[in-house]
């Protein structure tokens, strides 16, 4: 049976991808099913890209434990998988005596959660570290272990490494049916060794009619995790999408802040932040509004207004005229607020659900926790001797240009002359980088943008889009009118003009 696996993972966000990479260390057959055109296209793509230190979460929760553990794992993961990650540190800034008391409370939380190296900073010290902050502040809680990351490249890196270790990836496969299968009769080869032959597998059917079966099915379906669980007869939780809008600012104001700037939090979110990104530009957001629809990715005037009012309180020189783009993402908030990770009443069906913030931070620890659960549930895990832990990142020349290290650019051109063909002028992305992204299987505009940054700059694709479309056309043979922004239904152009006419 070609589609018979030890573990089926539903959902190719950072959680599912992290689990796939973790499990690909072992001699088992794994498949990852993603309903979108590429991995990371759900909640993960509209993430703030912060690796939280862990002082926000209530002690004793999964949030607290997994975020602190996850945070610790990033140095190793970054080295192995070559995605952008920097420990910039964070400041939670207080503007009143009351807020000063609140940040003390968060210090205590952090201490209980084992967050390392936190300290209180005086007003003067805070302003010395971040001179663009509002001088009305009274002090700040500093957490040096807070990091920033490129969330989609992290996701792509996890999947690429899992792929080179045997993962089977199926995109555009939306799961519509899950049921208890018949007991396996034909047990062969490694299946027996891994325990896959025993008991009833779980059968999964997709919208396209593909069938998969797995001894274990992991539900990492993000905002749709409650719907997927219900397919398996598990109906004990509900996911409420909590929308967050983010606004990206022009590169010319990239040095507004160096660290992640948190306000004192609100009851439902970490508040509206000023966030440096690993690529340079500063982002402000995310708002937090519970919404009805799981497809509501609309940005709003209200969100824009609220975000800038709050952000300007912390960093007064932030301007709406510096906005180059905006987007919204949905946090999957489960009943009870905490993560829901563990076995369910359907044997073999395991939840990794409700992974809202600090989900990105926790992803590595969630993967390890799921591995432990699988072991306990009877999956036999034997390490591969030939596991490939290293994934090569794409060589970007943007930084070398920005830092005026032109020898590095020349070196890249000597290795591949396509580094001399500039595709994206705002972000200095070359044809070599775009071709590499296509080669790695990213063939729509959004995925190439996430992988290379082409199109993320101030002209928002005005210059590079036609060039990228030409590269996709030449590398994959896809005609221009079939090239999409984010998969079928999002074609960029609709009508080839009749040929041969006047």
């Amino acid at each position: 049976m070609g589609n018979d696996y030890d573990v089926l993972i539903i959902g190719g966000g950072v959680v599912g991808s992290g689990i796939a990479r973790e499990l690909s260390h072992y001699k088992i057959r794994i498949a990852l099913l993603e309903k979108e055109f590429d991995v990371s296209f759900g909640t993960s793509k509209s993430n703030s890209g912060i690796i939280h230190a862990g002082f926000h979460s209530l002690p004793g929760t999964l949030h607290a434990r997994l975020s602190v553990e996850g945070n610790r794992a990033f140095d190793r993961l970054c080295e192995e998988l070559e995605f952008p990650f920097e420990r910039r540190g964070s400041l939670m800034v207080a503007f009143s005596e009351e807020e000063m008391q609140t940040i003390h409370m968060y210090y205590e939380r952090g201490r209980k959660n084992n967050v390392p190296y936190m300290e209180f900073l005086s007003r003067a010290k805070t302003l010395e570290m971040e001179p663009n902050l509002n001088p009305d502040l009274l002090g700040a809680l500093y957490a040096p272990s807070t990091g920033i990351i490129c969330p989609y490249e992290f996701c792509y890196a996890l999947v690429e490494d899992a792929l080179q270790n045997g993962l089977n990836l199926f995109t555009q496969e939306k799961v519509v049916r899950i049921r208890r299968g018949r007991p396996r009769t034909n047990v062969r080869g490694s299946a027996e060794a891994s325990g896959r032959g025993r008991g009833h597998p779980v059968e999964v059917e997709t919208e396209k009619g593909s069938r998969f079966s797995g001894s274990f099915v992991i539900n990492a379906a993000g905002v749709y995790a409650d719907d997927v669980a219900r397919l398996a007869g598990v109906a004990n939780f509900k996911i409420t999408p909590r929308k967050g809008e983010e606004y990206l600012l022009d590169r010319r104001v990239a040095n507004l802040v160096r660290r992640v700037i948190y306000p004192v939090p609100t009851p439902i979110s970490k508040g509206l932040l000023v966030i440096p990104t690993v690529d340079g530009p500063v982002m402000v957001g995310p708002s937090a509004f519970d919404v009805e629809s799981k497809t509501d990715h609309d940005t709003t005037y209200e969100g824009l207004k609220a975000i800038f009012e709050h952000a300007q309180k912390m960093v007064p020189s932030i301007r709406t005229t510096d906005i180059i783009t905006s987007f919204a993402g949905l946090r999957p908030v489960a009943t009870g607020d905490d993560f829901i990770i563990g076995p369910t009443k359907m044997k073999g069906f395991i939840n990794a659900a409700g992974i809202q913030s600090p989900g990105l931070t926790s992803a590595p620890a969630i993967a390890e926790m799921v591995r432990e659960i699988l072991l306990k549930e009877g999956l036999k895990l034997e390490l591969k001797a030939d596991f490939l832990a290293r994934r090569k990142g794409i060589v970007h020349i943007r930084k070398a240009i920005e830092e005026r290290k032109f020898e590095k650019v020349e070196e890249a051109i000597r290795a591949d002359k396509d580094y001399a063909k500039l595709v994206c002028r705002c972000e200095n992305v070359t044809e070599a980088e775009v071709s590499e992204a296509v080669k790695r299987g990213h063939t729509c505009m959004d995925a190439i943008k996430f992988m290379t940054r082409a199109g993320t700059g101030r002209c928002q694709g005005g210059f590079c889009s036609s060039r990228i479309m030409k590269i996709i056309e030449s590398k994959t043979g896809t005609p221009l009118e079939k090239i999409t922004k984010k998969g079928p239904g999002s074609e960029l152009l609709l009508l080839p003009l009749s040929k041969g006419g006047v």
């Binding site: 010319r252 032109f406 001399a420 063909k421 002209c459 694709g461 005005g462 999002s490 609709l494 009508l495």
Partner: protein, 418 residues
């Protein structure tokens, strides 16, 4: 690789070619023009409609025809043009100007130059810049990108079109799309008056019965894969009208023609100071920027209405660069230029006492029966009645001789009663 030239021109559109030809005419031989595209001509190459060259050639040409004349002259005058080449940096090290090129053919090239002409043109304002709320589907394009797709790639963006903004490119595209069988349902303009030239309103909208909604904007975008509709909202004194007055238009494409931004990121790298009002460099009467040896002309300096006017400015710039290279720009006293009543900007920032001045400016808003005046602190230099003025129409005047004693020059529009 390293090169040394007398003048490097960035961009081979009408501005860059115009400056290069003028440099050659003025005896500067050692020049290099670089351009990122496969062919010289700039954005004119995708402007296949006519209406170019009426002032300069007294003929009605298409964009490519207009460009071809400059490209041919450049070839005849042996102007060296390096294509498929992007300038990624300009380093101004104590007066030594070095441009860093990424060239498909030559790789990374360091060009040391005595003078640099910025002629990079402008780019279009996009959705991000105007922050229209809603979802983020495919099918939202700037008008110029749609024009490139249609005229150079042979693909129309869609069938049911709404256009936001009444800039000239949007108007031209309304007609172009209609000709190709798409349906343009509306042009929506936030201002109370059109952004583009009147002749384009008539020839591109009225002739095809395309409705123009002035004082309206788009307040929401809907659609998951591809855009499916927009919400159009009337503006009442700059504020959104209540929901009852809003209406929805189904569409598969939204084109944006909401303004042009001079493409000055490189200029900033070189330390050039920009003017908030034009988005271009602050220049003196020689079109030299705040960095000695760096000049600017065309749409990178100020967004022009007509290619003809770009060419005129570029020719003036080339002459000034040649004078600079020959060491003939010994400066007279600088007289600052000021914006007076109803004037949005005036360019250059200063003129030279005792010399000729070429001044460009635009009104802030449309006005009728006004008097254009140019005056110094003590005398009026020019007085001219204007029946109608529009922000979409740039004014350019020549002051034959700036008075030696002038403390400043002020350009203003006053109502006639005065």
């Amino acid at each position: 690789m390293k090169l040394n030239v007398d003048a490097l021109v960035i961009g081979a559109g009408p501005a860059g070619l115009g400056a290069a030809l003028s440099l050659k005419e003025n005896g500067i031989e050692d020049i290099l023009v670089v351009d990122r595209e496969d062919a010289a001509g700039g954005i004119l190459l995708q402007c296949i409609h006519d209406g170019f060259g009426l002032h300069r050639f007294k003929e009605e040409l298409t964009g490519p025809e207009y460009a071809e004349r400059d490209v041919r002259s450049a070839r005849e005058n042996k102007v060296e043009i390096l294509l498929r080449t992007c300038v990624v940096d300009i380093i101004n090290d104590e007066g030594l100007i070095t441009a860093i090129l990424l060239s498909e053919e030559k790789g990374l090239v360091r060009v040391e130059t005595k003078a640099l002409v910025l002629a990079m043109g402008c780019r279009e304002r996009n959705r991000g810049n105007i922050a229209i709320p809603g979802s983020r589907p495919a099918g939202i394009l700037t008008a110029g990108f749609a024009q490139k797709m249609m005229n150079m790639f042979g693909h129309a963006p869609g069938r049911e079109i709404v256009i936001l903004g009444s800039g000239d490119i949007g108007l031209i595209m309304a007609r172009r799309l209609t000709w190709e069988g798409s349906r343009v349902k509306a042009v929506v303009e936030a201002q109370a008056y059109p952004g583009g030239l009147n002749r384009n309103i008539v020839q591109c909208l009225h002739d095809f019965d395309i409705p123009l909604y002035l004082s309206h904007t788009i307040s929401r975008i809907t659609g998951t894969g591809r855009i499916s509709s927009v919400e159009v909202t009337p503006l009442e004194h700059g504020n959104f009208a209540p929901p009852g007055k809003r209406f929805s238009l189904a569409c598969d494409t939204l084109l944006l023609s909401v303004g042009l931004i001079p493409e000055n990121e490189l200029s900033l790298r070189a330390g050039v100071v920009l003017d908030q009002a034009t988005g271009g460099a602050v220049v003196d009467s020689n079109l030299m920027t705040s960095v000695p040896g760096i000049f600017a002309c065309g749409n990178v300096l100020q967004v022009h209405d007509l290619a003809d006017s770009v060419s005129e400015e570029a020719g003036y710039c080339g002459t000034a660069v040649a004078r600079y290279l020959r060491g003939e720009t010994k400066k007279a006293r600088e007289v600052p230029l000021k914006t007076g009543n109803l004037v949005r900007y005036v360019l250059p920032a200063c003129a030279e006492a005792g010399k000729e001045a070429l001044i460009s400016f635009r009104p802030i808003s449309p006005a009728q029966d006004v008097v254009l005046t140019v005056r110094t602190d003590t005398e009026e230099l020019l007085r001219k009645k204007e029946r109608k003025v529009f922000p979409s129409i740039m004014h350019r005047i020549r002051i034959p001789r700036v008075p030696e004693t002038a403390a400043y020059l002020e350009v203003s529009f006053a109502s006639e009663e005065k």
